[in-house]
């Protein structure tokens, strides 16, 4: 539980959040697919070509066993072509094998290229700053370059200064422009103490003066890590990617054996297989499609997060997001709009709605909190009361809302009207010598039991002091949350609402929002215990948090998303940071994680299924001459053996380029059950992978056969 939310819960109203969450509309209901598409521009291919060629370095290539085999094959066929320069076939195969390798590198280069652009923008923010370091006694100031700051140093920043490093505000309040890292131009408030003390190097102070205690070494700051991340420099293979690589390597070895043992068989059959043909067969069989695109898929997955202003500190966290089975969501700001709103006026017997509404409106004009404003709005919308302003009533004495009195009101025309927390208003009525009717008490209790918050409206006039009625304040669940939770349930994800409310209120909101479970009156310890309990059952847990007291739970959770507005302790503990500080984004993060895994699986399936057609192209081409019966396997009716083999190799190369956009964008993800996902993806990528090459190879063969002297 964050202190911010606790504050809101136990006082009826409080200050507005420093910055409202960016979007209250769940992002999933945009029309274009759930996890949106990163646009792919064919020009990027051309631009990345030099990078792709640079990656031909065997020391780089060896990291991808499948493509390394293709590289070795390309070298071999080229060498053999030099020995027999008159053979067009050898040259053609060599050329296409080189293209296969380059296409694979191109995929990776394009994926990295998109990150580079972002890194450049970030670097601009990282201009060398001069820090105004305070001496230990705090008395004097000296100018040092930002790069020479050490952890624990105190620096002063005033309006117009660039903050020289990551740290916590230890003194003062300032508005800060963080657009350099978040892209959000509205300034945010940073103040000492509490959950809004963290500042990031490279951001700019717009007003006031703050003293910052540096918490990270230069070179390891948030912005440095961000640059490394988006550039892919810090990219390490994730566990699942390693596992997939092992499987691909073993398939490569199996096919290597199948091809390497073929020459003695063929010699016995009475035909000699050239090295060029063998390499061509091998490259067609090993899973080059997924081997070529695997690392691009991983980079693009991270990139999709960055595009949504989420920084994952490791690829492992992104994978874990796909596996999450329990989501812990803070009630306020995630499930409900930040503030409670008036939903109803309930008069006590003997009072009319209109009288109560009028009194409620008047008494709330001096209440600037969102709750107070919502009462005025309700009076206008539901009871047709014109909105009045304080200036309109002459001689009125306004009593503003304070956290201490927990009441607001007005004294006008001999009437004293008060509105506020039930306890405060009752005390006031008794103070004025009035009686609190039983009726008022019952109404207030009923609202509490329904999960709402009752505010009492009371008046003291010629008839004495009495309660007029109750205002029903309700947490308003964001639009579309119920549908969102239904989707999550279909995906197999349990949602748990975390709130500081009492169990009654929590249950009412949980029911309304449609979450599976809730944790009421949650303390940080409760939250931690819940995470550990879920994890003990083998579940992966994701949560968001921003306060220092969230840090242990963020660290314990498998996916801990820290809000960028939060403390540096929270950011340090989590494995992702959301620059927009929008807790609803957790759901999108889960979807991106799933999409990453699905893309890998789909392209692996496609790649393996492709082999069937390639066999039907190449085997008859190799052996129909000695065993004419094998020509029956030439079901594609390819024009000549050379053309058949070349067509298979060309298809194999072109399919990589054709699938680059898919690898970068990711396979479309829909929040449906595993069964439906599997059926759909198996249909498209399994069956499609079986059939597509038959068509593709046939078309390429038709084109080749038109070239004079070949067909």
């Amino acid at each position: 539980m964050t202190t911010r939310i606790e504050k809101q819960e136990d006082t009826v109203s409080t200050t507005t959040p420093t910055r409202a969450p960016h979007s209250d509309v769940p992002t999933g209901h945009k029309d274009e697919g759930r996890v949106g598409a990163g646009l792919f521009d064919p020009k990027q291919l051309l631009k990345s070509l030099p990078d792709a060629c640079r990656k031909l370095d065997p020391r780089v290539m060896v990291k991808s066993p499948v493509m390394f085999v293709v590289l070795v094959g390309s070298v071999l066929t080229t060498v053999f072509s030099f020995k027999d320069p008159g053979d067009w076939f050898g040259w053609a195969i060599s050329a296409w094998l080189w293209l296969t390798v380059i296409f694979a590198n191109l995929a990776e280069a394009v994926a990295e290229g998109r990150g580079k652009a972002q890194a450049d923008t970030l670097r601009k923010a990282k201009t060398d700053t001069v820090a105004r370091r305070l001496s230990k006694d705090g008395g004097s100031e000296d100018q040092v370059p930002g790069t020479e700051l050490r952890v624990g140093d105190l620096v002063v920043c005033e309006a117009g200064d660039i903050i020289p490093g990551d740290g916590d505000v230890v003194e003062g309040v300032a508005s800060v422009d963080e657009s350099a890292i978040t892209g959000e131009s509205a300034p945010v408030i940073r103040e000492s103490g509490g959950d809004r003390s963290a500042v990031t190097g490279g951001t700019k102070v717009l007003s006031d003066r703050i003293v910052i205690k540096i918490t990270t070494k230069p070179g390891e700051t948030f912005i440095d890590r961000m640059i490394a991340l988006v550039e892919g420099a810090a990219r390490q293979k994730t566990p699942n990617e390693i596992a997939l690589n092992i499987l691909l390597a073993s398939l490569t070895i199996v096919f290597l054996l199948a091809v390497a043992t073929l020459p003695p068989f063929a010699d016995y059959a009475g035909t000699h297989l050239t090295m060029v043909v063998l390499v061509a067969l091998l490259v067609c069989l090993i899973p080059t499609t997924i081997g070529a695109l695997l690392s691009a898929i991983g980079i693009a997955g991270m990139d999709r997060l960055v595009q949504r202003n989420v920084l994952a500190m490791s690829g492992r966290a992104v994978e874990a997001a796909g596996d999450v089975s329990t989501l812990l969501l803070d009630k306020t700001g995630t499930i409900t709009l930040g503030n409670r709103q008036a939903s109803e006026f309930v008069p006590v017997s003997g009072t009319t709605d209109a009288v109560l509404a009028d009194a409620a409106q008047l008494s709330s004009l001096a209440d600037e909190t969102p709750e107070g404003r919502s009462i005025v709005v309700l009076a206008k919308e539901k009871y047709g009361l014109r909105e009045r302003s304080q200036g309109e009533l002459s001689g009125a004495e306004w009593i503003a809302f304070t956290a201490q009195t927990r009441m607001s009101g007005v004294d006008v025309d001999g009437r004293k009207i008060r509105k506020g927390a039930a306890g405060s208003v009752m005390a006031w009525v008794r103070e004025q010598g009035g009686e609190v009717s039983e009726d008022a008490d019952t109404l207030a209790n009923r609202i509490s039991e329904a999960g709402g918050t009752p505010l009492l409206v009371a008046i003291e006039d010629s008839e004495g002091a009495r309660v007029l009625g109750v205002i029903h304040l309700k947490d308003v669940v964001k639009d579309g949350m119920r549908e969102r939770f239904d989707e999550l349930r279909r995906m197999g994800i349990k949602t748990v609402m975390i709130t500081g409310d009492n169990p009654l209120t929590a249950k009412a909101i949980a029911d309304e929002a449609g979450v599976d479970d809730f944790l009421a009156e949650a303390t940080p310890e409760d939250k931690m215990a819940l995470i550990k309990r879920e994890q003990a059952g083998g579940k992966l847990v994701a949560m968001t948090g921003d306060g220092t007291n969230d840090a242990p739970a963020l660290a314990q959770a498998d996916v801990g998303v820290a809000m960028n507005t939060g403390t540096s302790a929270a950011k340090e503990a989590g494995n992702m940071v959301d620059l927009d500080s929008n807790p609803t984004k957790l759901i999108e993060i889960v979807e991106i994680g799933k999409q990453l895994l699905i893309t890998r699986g789909a392209l692996t399936t496609f790649s393996i299924a492709n082999d069937v057609a390639k066999y039907f192209a190449i085997i008859p081409a190799l052996f129909a001459a000695v065993y004419p019966g094998l020509d029956k396997l030439n079901i594609m009716q390819l024009s000549s053996p050379d053309s058949a083999i070349l067509s298979a190799v060309i298809f194999n190369a072109l399919i990589i380029i054709a699938l680059v956009p898919l690898a970068l964008r990711g396979v479309q993800y829909r929040p449906v059950s595993a069964d439906k996902l599997l059926r759909r993806n198996l249909g498209i990528y399994g069956l499609g992978g079986l059939i597509a090459p038959f068509i593709g190879i046939k078309i390429i063969d038709l084109i080749i056969s038109l070239i004079p002297g070949i067909g």
Partner: protein, 554 residues
């Protein structure tokens, strides 16, 4: 009744019989491997071998048990053959040469039962009954034990313990294989199979001349030969010999015995992991491949045309008239889709494509339903590979039966699927490339190549059947085939047990709506596809140059 209809009806009867036995046997086996109690005779055995049946073993200890026991078995069987000449009850046969003795020892301990000798002309009662028949029980029991250890790996959590190898070995033998074998032997004797210890009989032939027949404990060995998916015949003609397989009923009964335990183990698996449905899904995968292969085999054998063939109802060369095309096809598929290798007809004489089906059956790794135990663990490894790919497609890191398929698990599974293709292809290539091994071929052309490809396929997959025609009793073949059998049996077991240990250490992941449902027909379909594409395609070029070239020639 047309031969085709007869074949189909036999298949129906077989399925009905297997279905009847499935539940009781599967549940019984689950109980055998889960119970805490020891039988009195088992306690004697444990005392005799000095093993403590109650300690739990982690995977290295379990593996040590498997390897040590098998090594001792190989040595014992080798010595028994080498000293046959000086042993009583040997019908006067001399000692076996070192290379053949090694080959035979490796063959029977690895549950392969490849025979480079003529049973009735080389092995006496002592070796046949005291050596080979004993290994028929023990090697089968070792296979089941390893499979059960893997199942425990799925069923258990947060422990590395996989059970006790000695207890699993002894229970499998005493409580499962022995009792069923006794009943099966009686049934076979009733059918007319012989069971005696008589010597060699000189029998006059109708056409003049004479022939030697010897007796032996044939029915009992026949029972465990099929039940334990061993396949080593008492006689060279194997189950085509009337003393081993007297009539059409005994033939069907033997097929039933071959398939009995491998299919029922899927029920045992379902019971032990706490979800019968998961067992059914594995069963469905096996049955789909088995019926598909049988249908293909019948189709290619019945469809083989020519005047003589049409009169007999299909390709009859090398098939017993007692059984006909249908029953021979069912037997051939059952024996090559399991690690049995017993034959009631000569696979070399099948049509080109038919021969290819027997080879592909073995090359799939003998997993439909496969050998006793080895079929189940082979299939579970393929399920892990399929889950890995399909699991990604539902957007989670893959998991099977609540266990994550991570880097470690996929490493072991990937190594497992590498072994047999490597053995088959490398040894076949070596045999083809070297000058002498080719001399063993009887045929030239594609059929000759098939003989050698079949031999290494059979040995590496621990099948043991032969594509008749190859003279395998040479130093080259005895040694390389023996090596292929040992490596093809025990290397995979290393990875299976390592995998089991890794799975048993994990904590289970609860299933949610987002979990891949591995008990659904969709997954079964995917698994069949993965098996055919990943395992089958490895051999496509080799098959194209052998059976396919031959079968598509006409």
């Amino acid at each position: 009744m047309s031969p085709v209809l007869a074949g189909v009806l036999q298949m129906v009867a077989l399925i009905a019989a297997l279905a009847l036995a499935y539940r009781p046997l599967g549940d019984y086996m689950a109980k055998v491997y889960s119970s805490d109690k020891h039988l009195r005779v088992e306690k004697w055995i444990y005392k005799g071998i000095g093993a403590n049946p109650n300690t739990e073993m982690r995977w290295p200890a379990y593996l040590r048990g498997v390897l040590a026991f098998s090594a001792v078995s190989v040595l014992f069987l080798y010595l028994l053959q080498r000293f046959q000449g000086s042993l009583p009850g040997s019908l006067g046969f001399s000692s076996i040469d070192p290379d053949q003795a090694f080959n035979t020892a490796a063959s029977f301990v690895s549950n392969t039962n490849w025979q480079s000798y003529y049973g009735e002309q080389a092995m006496g009662h002592v070796v046949q009954t005291g050596g080979l028949a004993v290994q028929n029980f023990l090697s089968a029991s070792v296979g089941i034990a390893v499979a059960v250890a893997l199942v425990r790996g799925f069923a258990r959590s947060r422990t590395g313990e996989l059970g006790n190898f000695w207890s699993d070995l002894v229970r499998g033998t005493v409580r499962i294989l022995l009792p069923i074998s006794v009943i099966a032997a009686i049934v076979l004797v009733a059918c007319g199979a012989i069971q005696n210890f008589s010597g060699i009989h000189e029998v006059g032939q109708f056409t003049g001349g004479s022939q030697q027949w010897n007796g032996g404990a044939v029915a009992s060995q026949e029972a465990i030969k099929e039940l334990g998916t061993n396949g080593g015949g008492y006689f060279n003609a194997n189950s085509a010999h009337p003393f081993e397989n007297p009539n059409a009923f005994s033939n069907l009964f033997e097929i039933f015995l071959i398939l009995l335990i491998p299919f029922a183990l899927t029920r045992t698996f379902g019971r032990m992991v706490g979800s019968l449905k998961q067992g059914y899904a594995i069963l469905a995968t096996m049955v789909t491949i088995w019926i598909g292969f049988t249908a293909l085999m019948m189709w290619t054998e019945f469809a083989h045309h020519g005047p003589a063939f049409d009169i007999a109802g299909g390709a009859m060369e090398g098939k017993e008239t007692r059984f006909g095309v249908g029953a021979s096809s069912i037997f051939a598929v059952a024996t090559t889709l399991t690690s049995t290798g017993a034959v009631d007809s000569f696979h070399s004489s099948f049509t080109g494509l038919g021969g290819g089906i027997t080879m592909l059956g073995m090359q799939l790794g003998e997993i439909a339903p496969g050998g006793t135990g080895s079929g189940l663990y082979g299939m579970l490894i393929m399920a892990i590979i399929a889950v890995f790919i399909a699991g990604l497609m539902v957007g989670r890191t893959p998991e099977y039966l609540g266990k994550k398929i991570g880097t470690r698990e996929i490493k072991f599974a990937a190594c497992y699927i590498l072994i047999t293709p490597a053995l088959v292809l490398v040894f076949t290539a070596a045999a083809m490339a070297l000058p002498t091994p080719g001399n063993s071929m009887t045929n030239s052309g594609a059929h000759g190549f098939s003989e050698i490809l079949y031999a290494y396929t059979s040995a590496s997959n621990n099948n043991g059947s032969a594509f008749a025609g190859l003279n395998a009793d040479t130093q080259w073949f005895n040694s390389t085939l023996g090596l292929a059998m040992l490596l093809g049996r025990f290397l995979p077991m290393v990875f299976v047990l390592a995998l089991a240990g890794s799975l048993a250490e994990q904590k289970p992941v609860p299933a949610t709506a987002g979990t891949l449902r591995t008990e659904k027909p969709l997954f079964t379909g995917l698994l069949v596809g993965a098996i055919l594409i990943i395992t089958g395609l490895t051999y496509f070029p080799a098959l194209a140059l052998g059976p396919l070239a031959e079968g598509l020639a006409s």
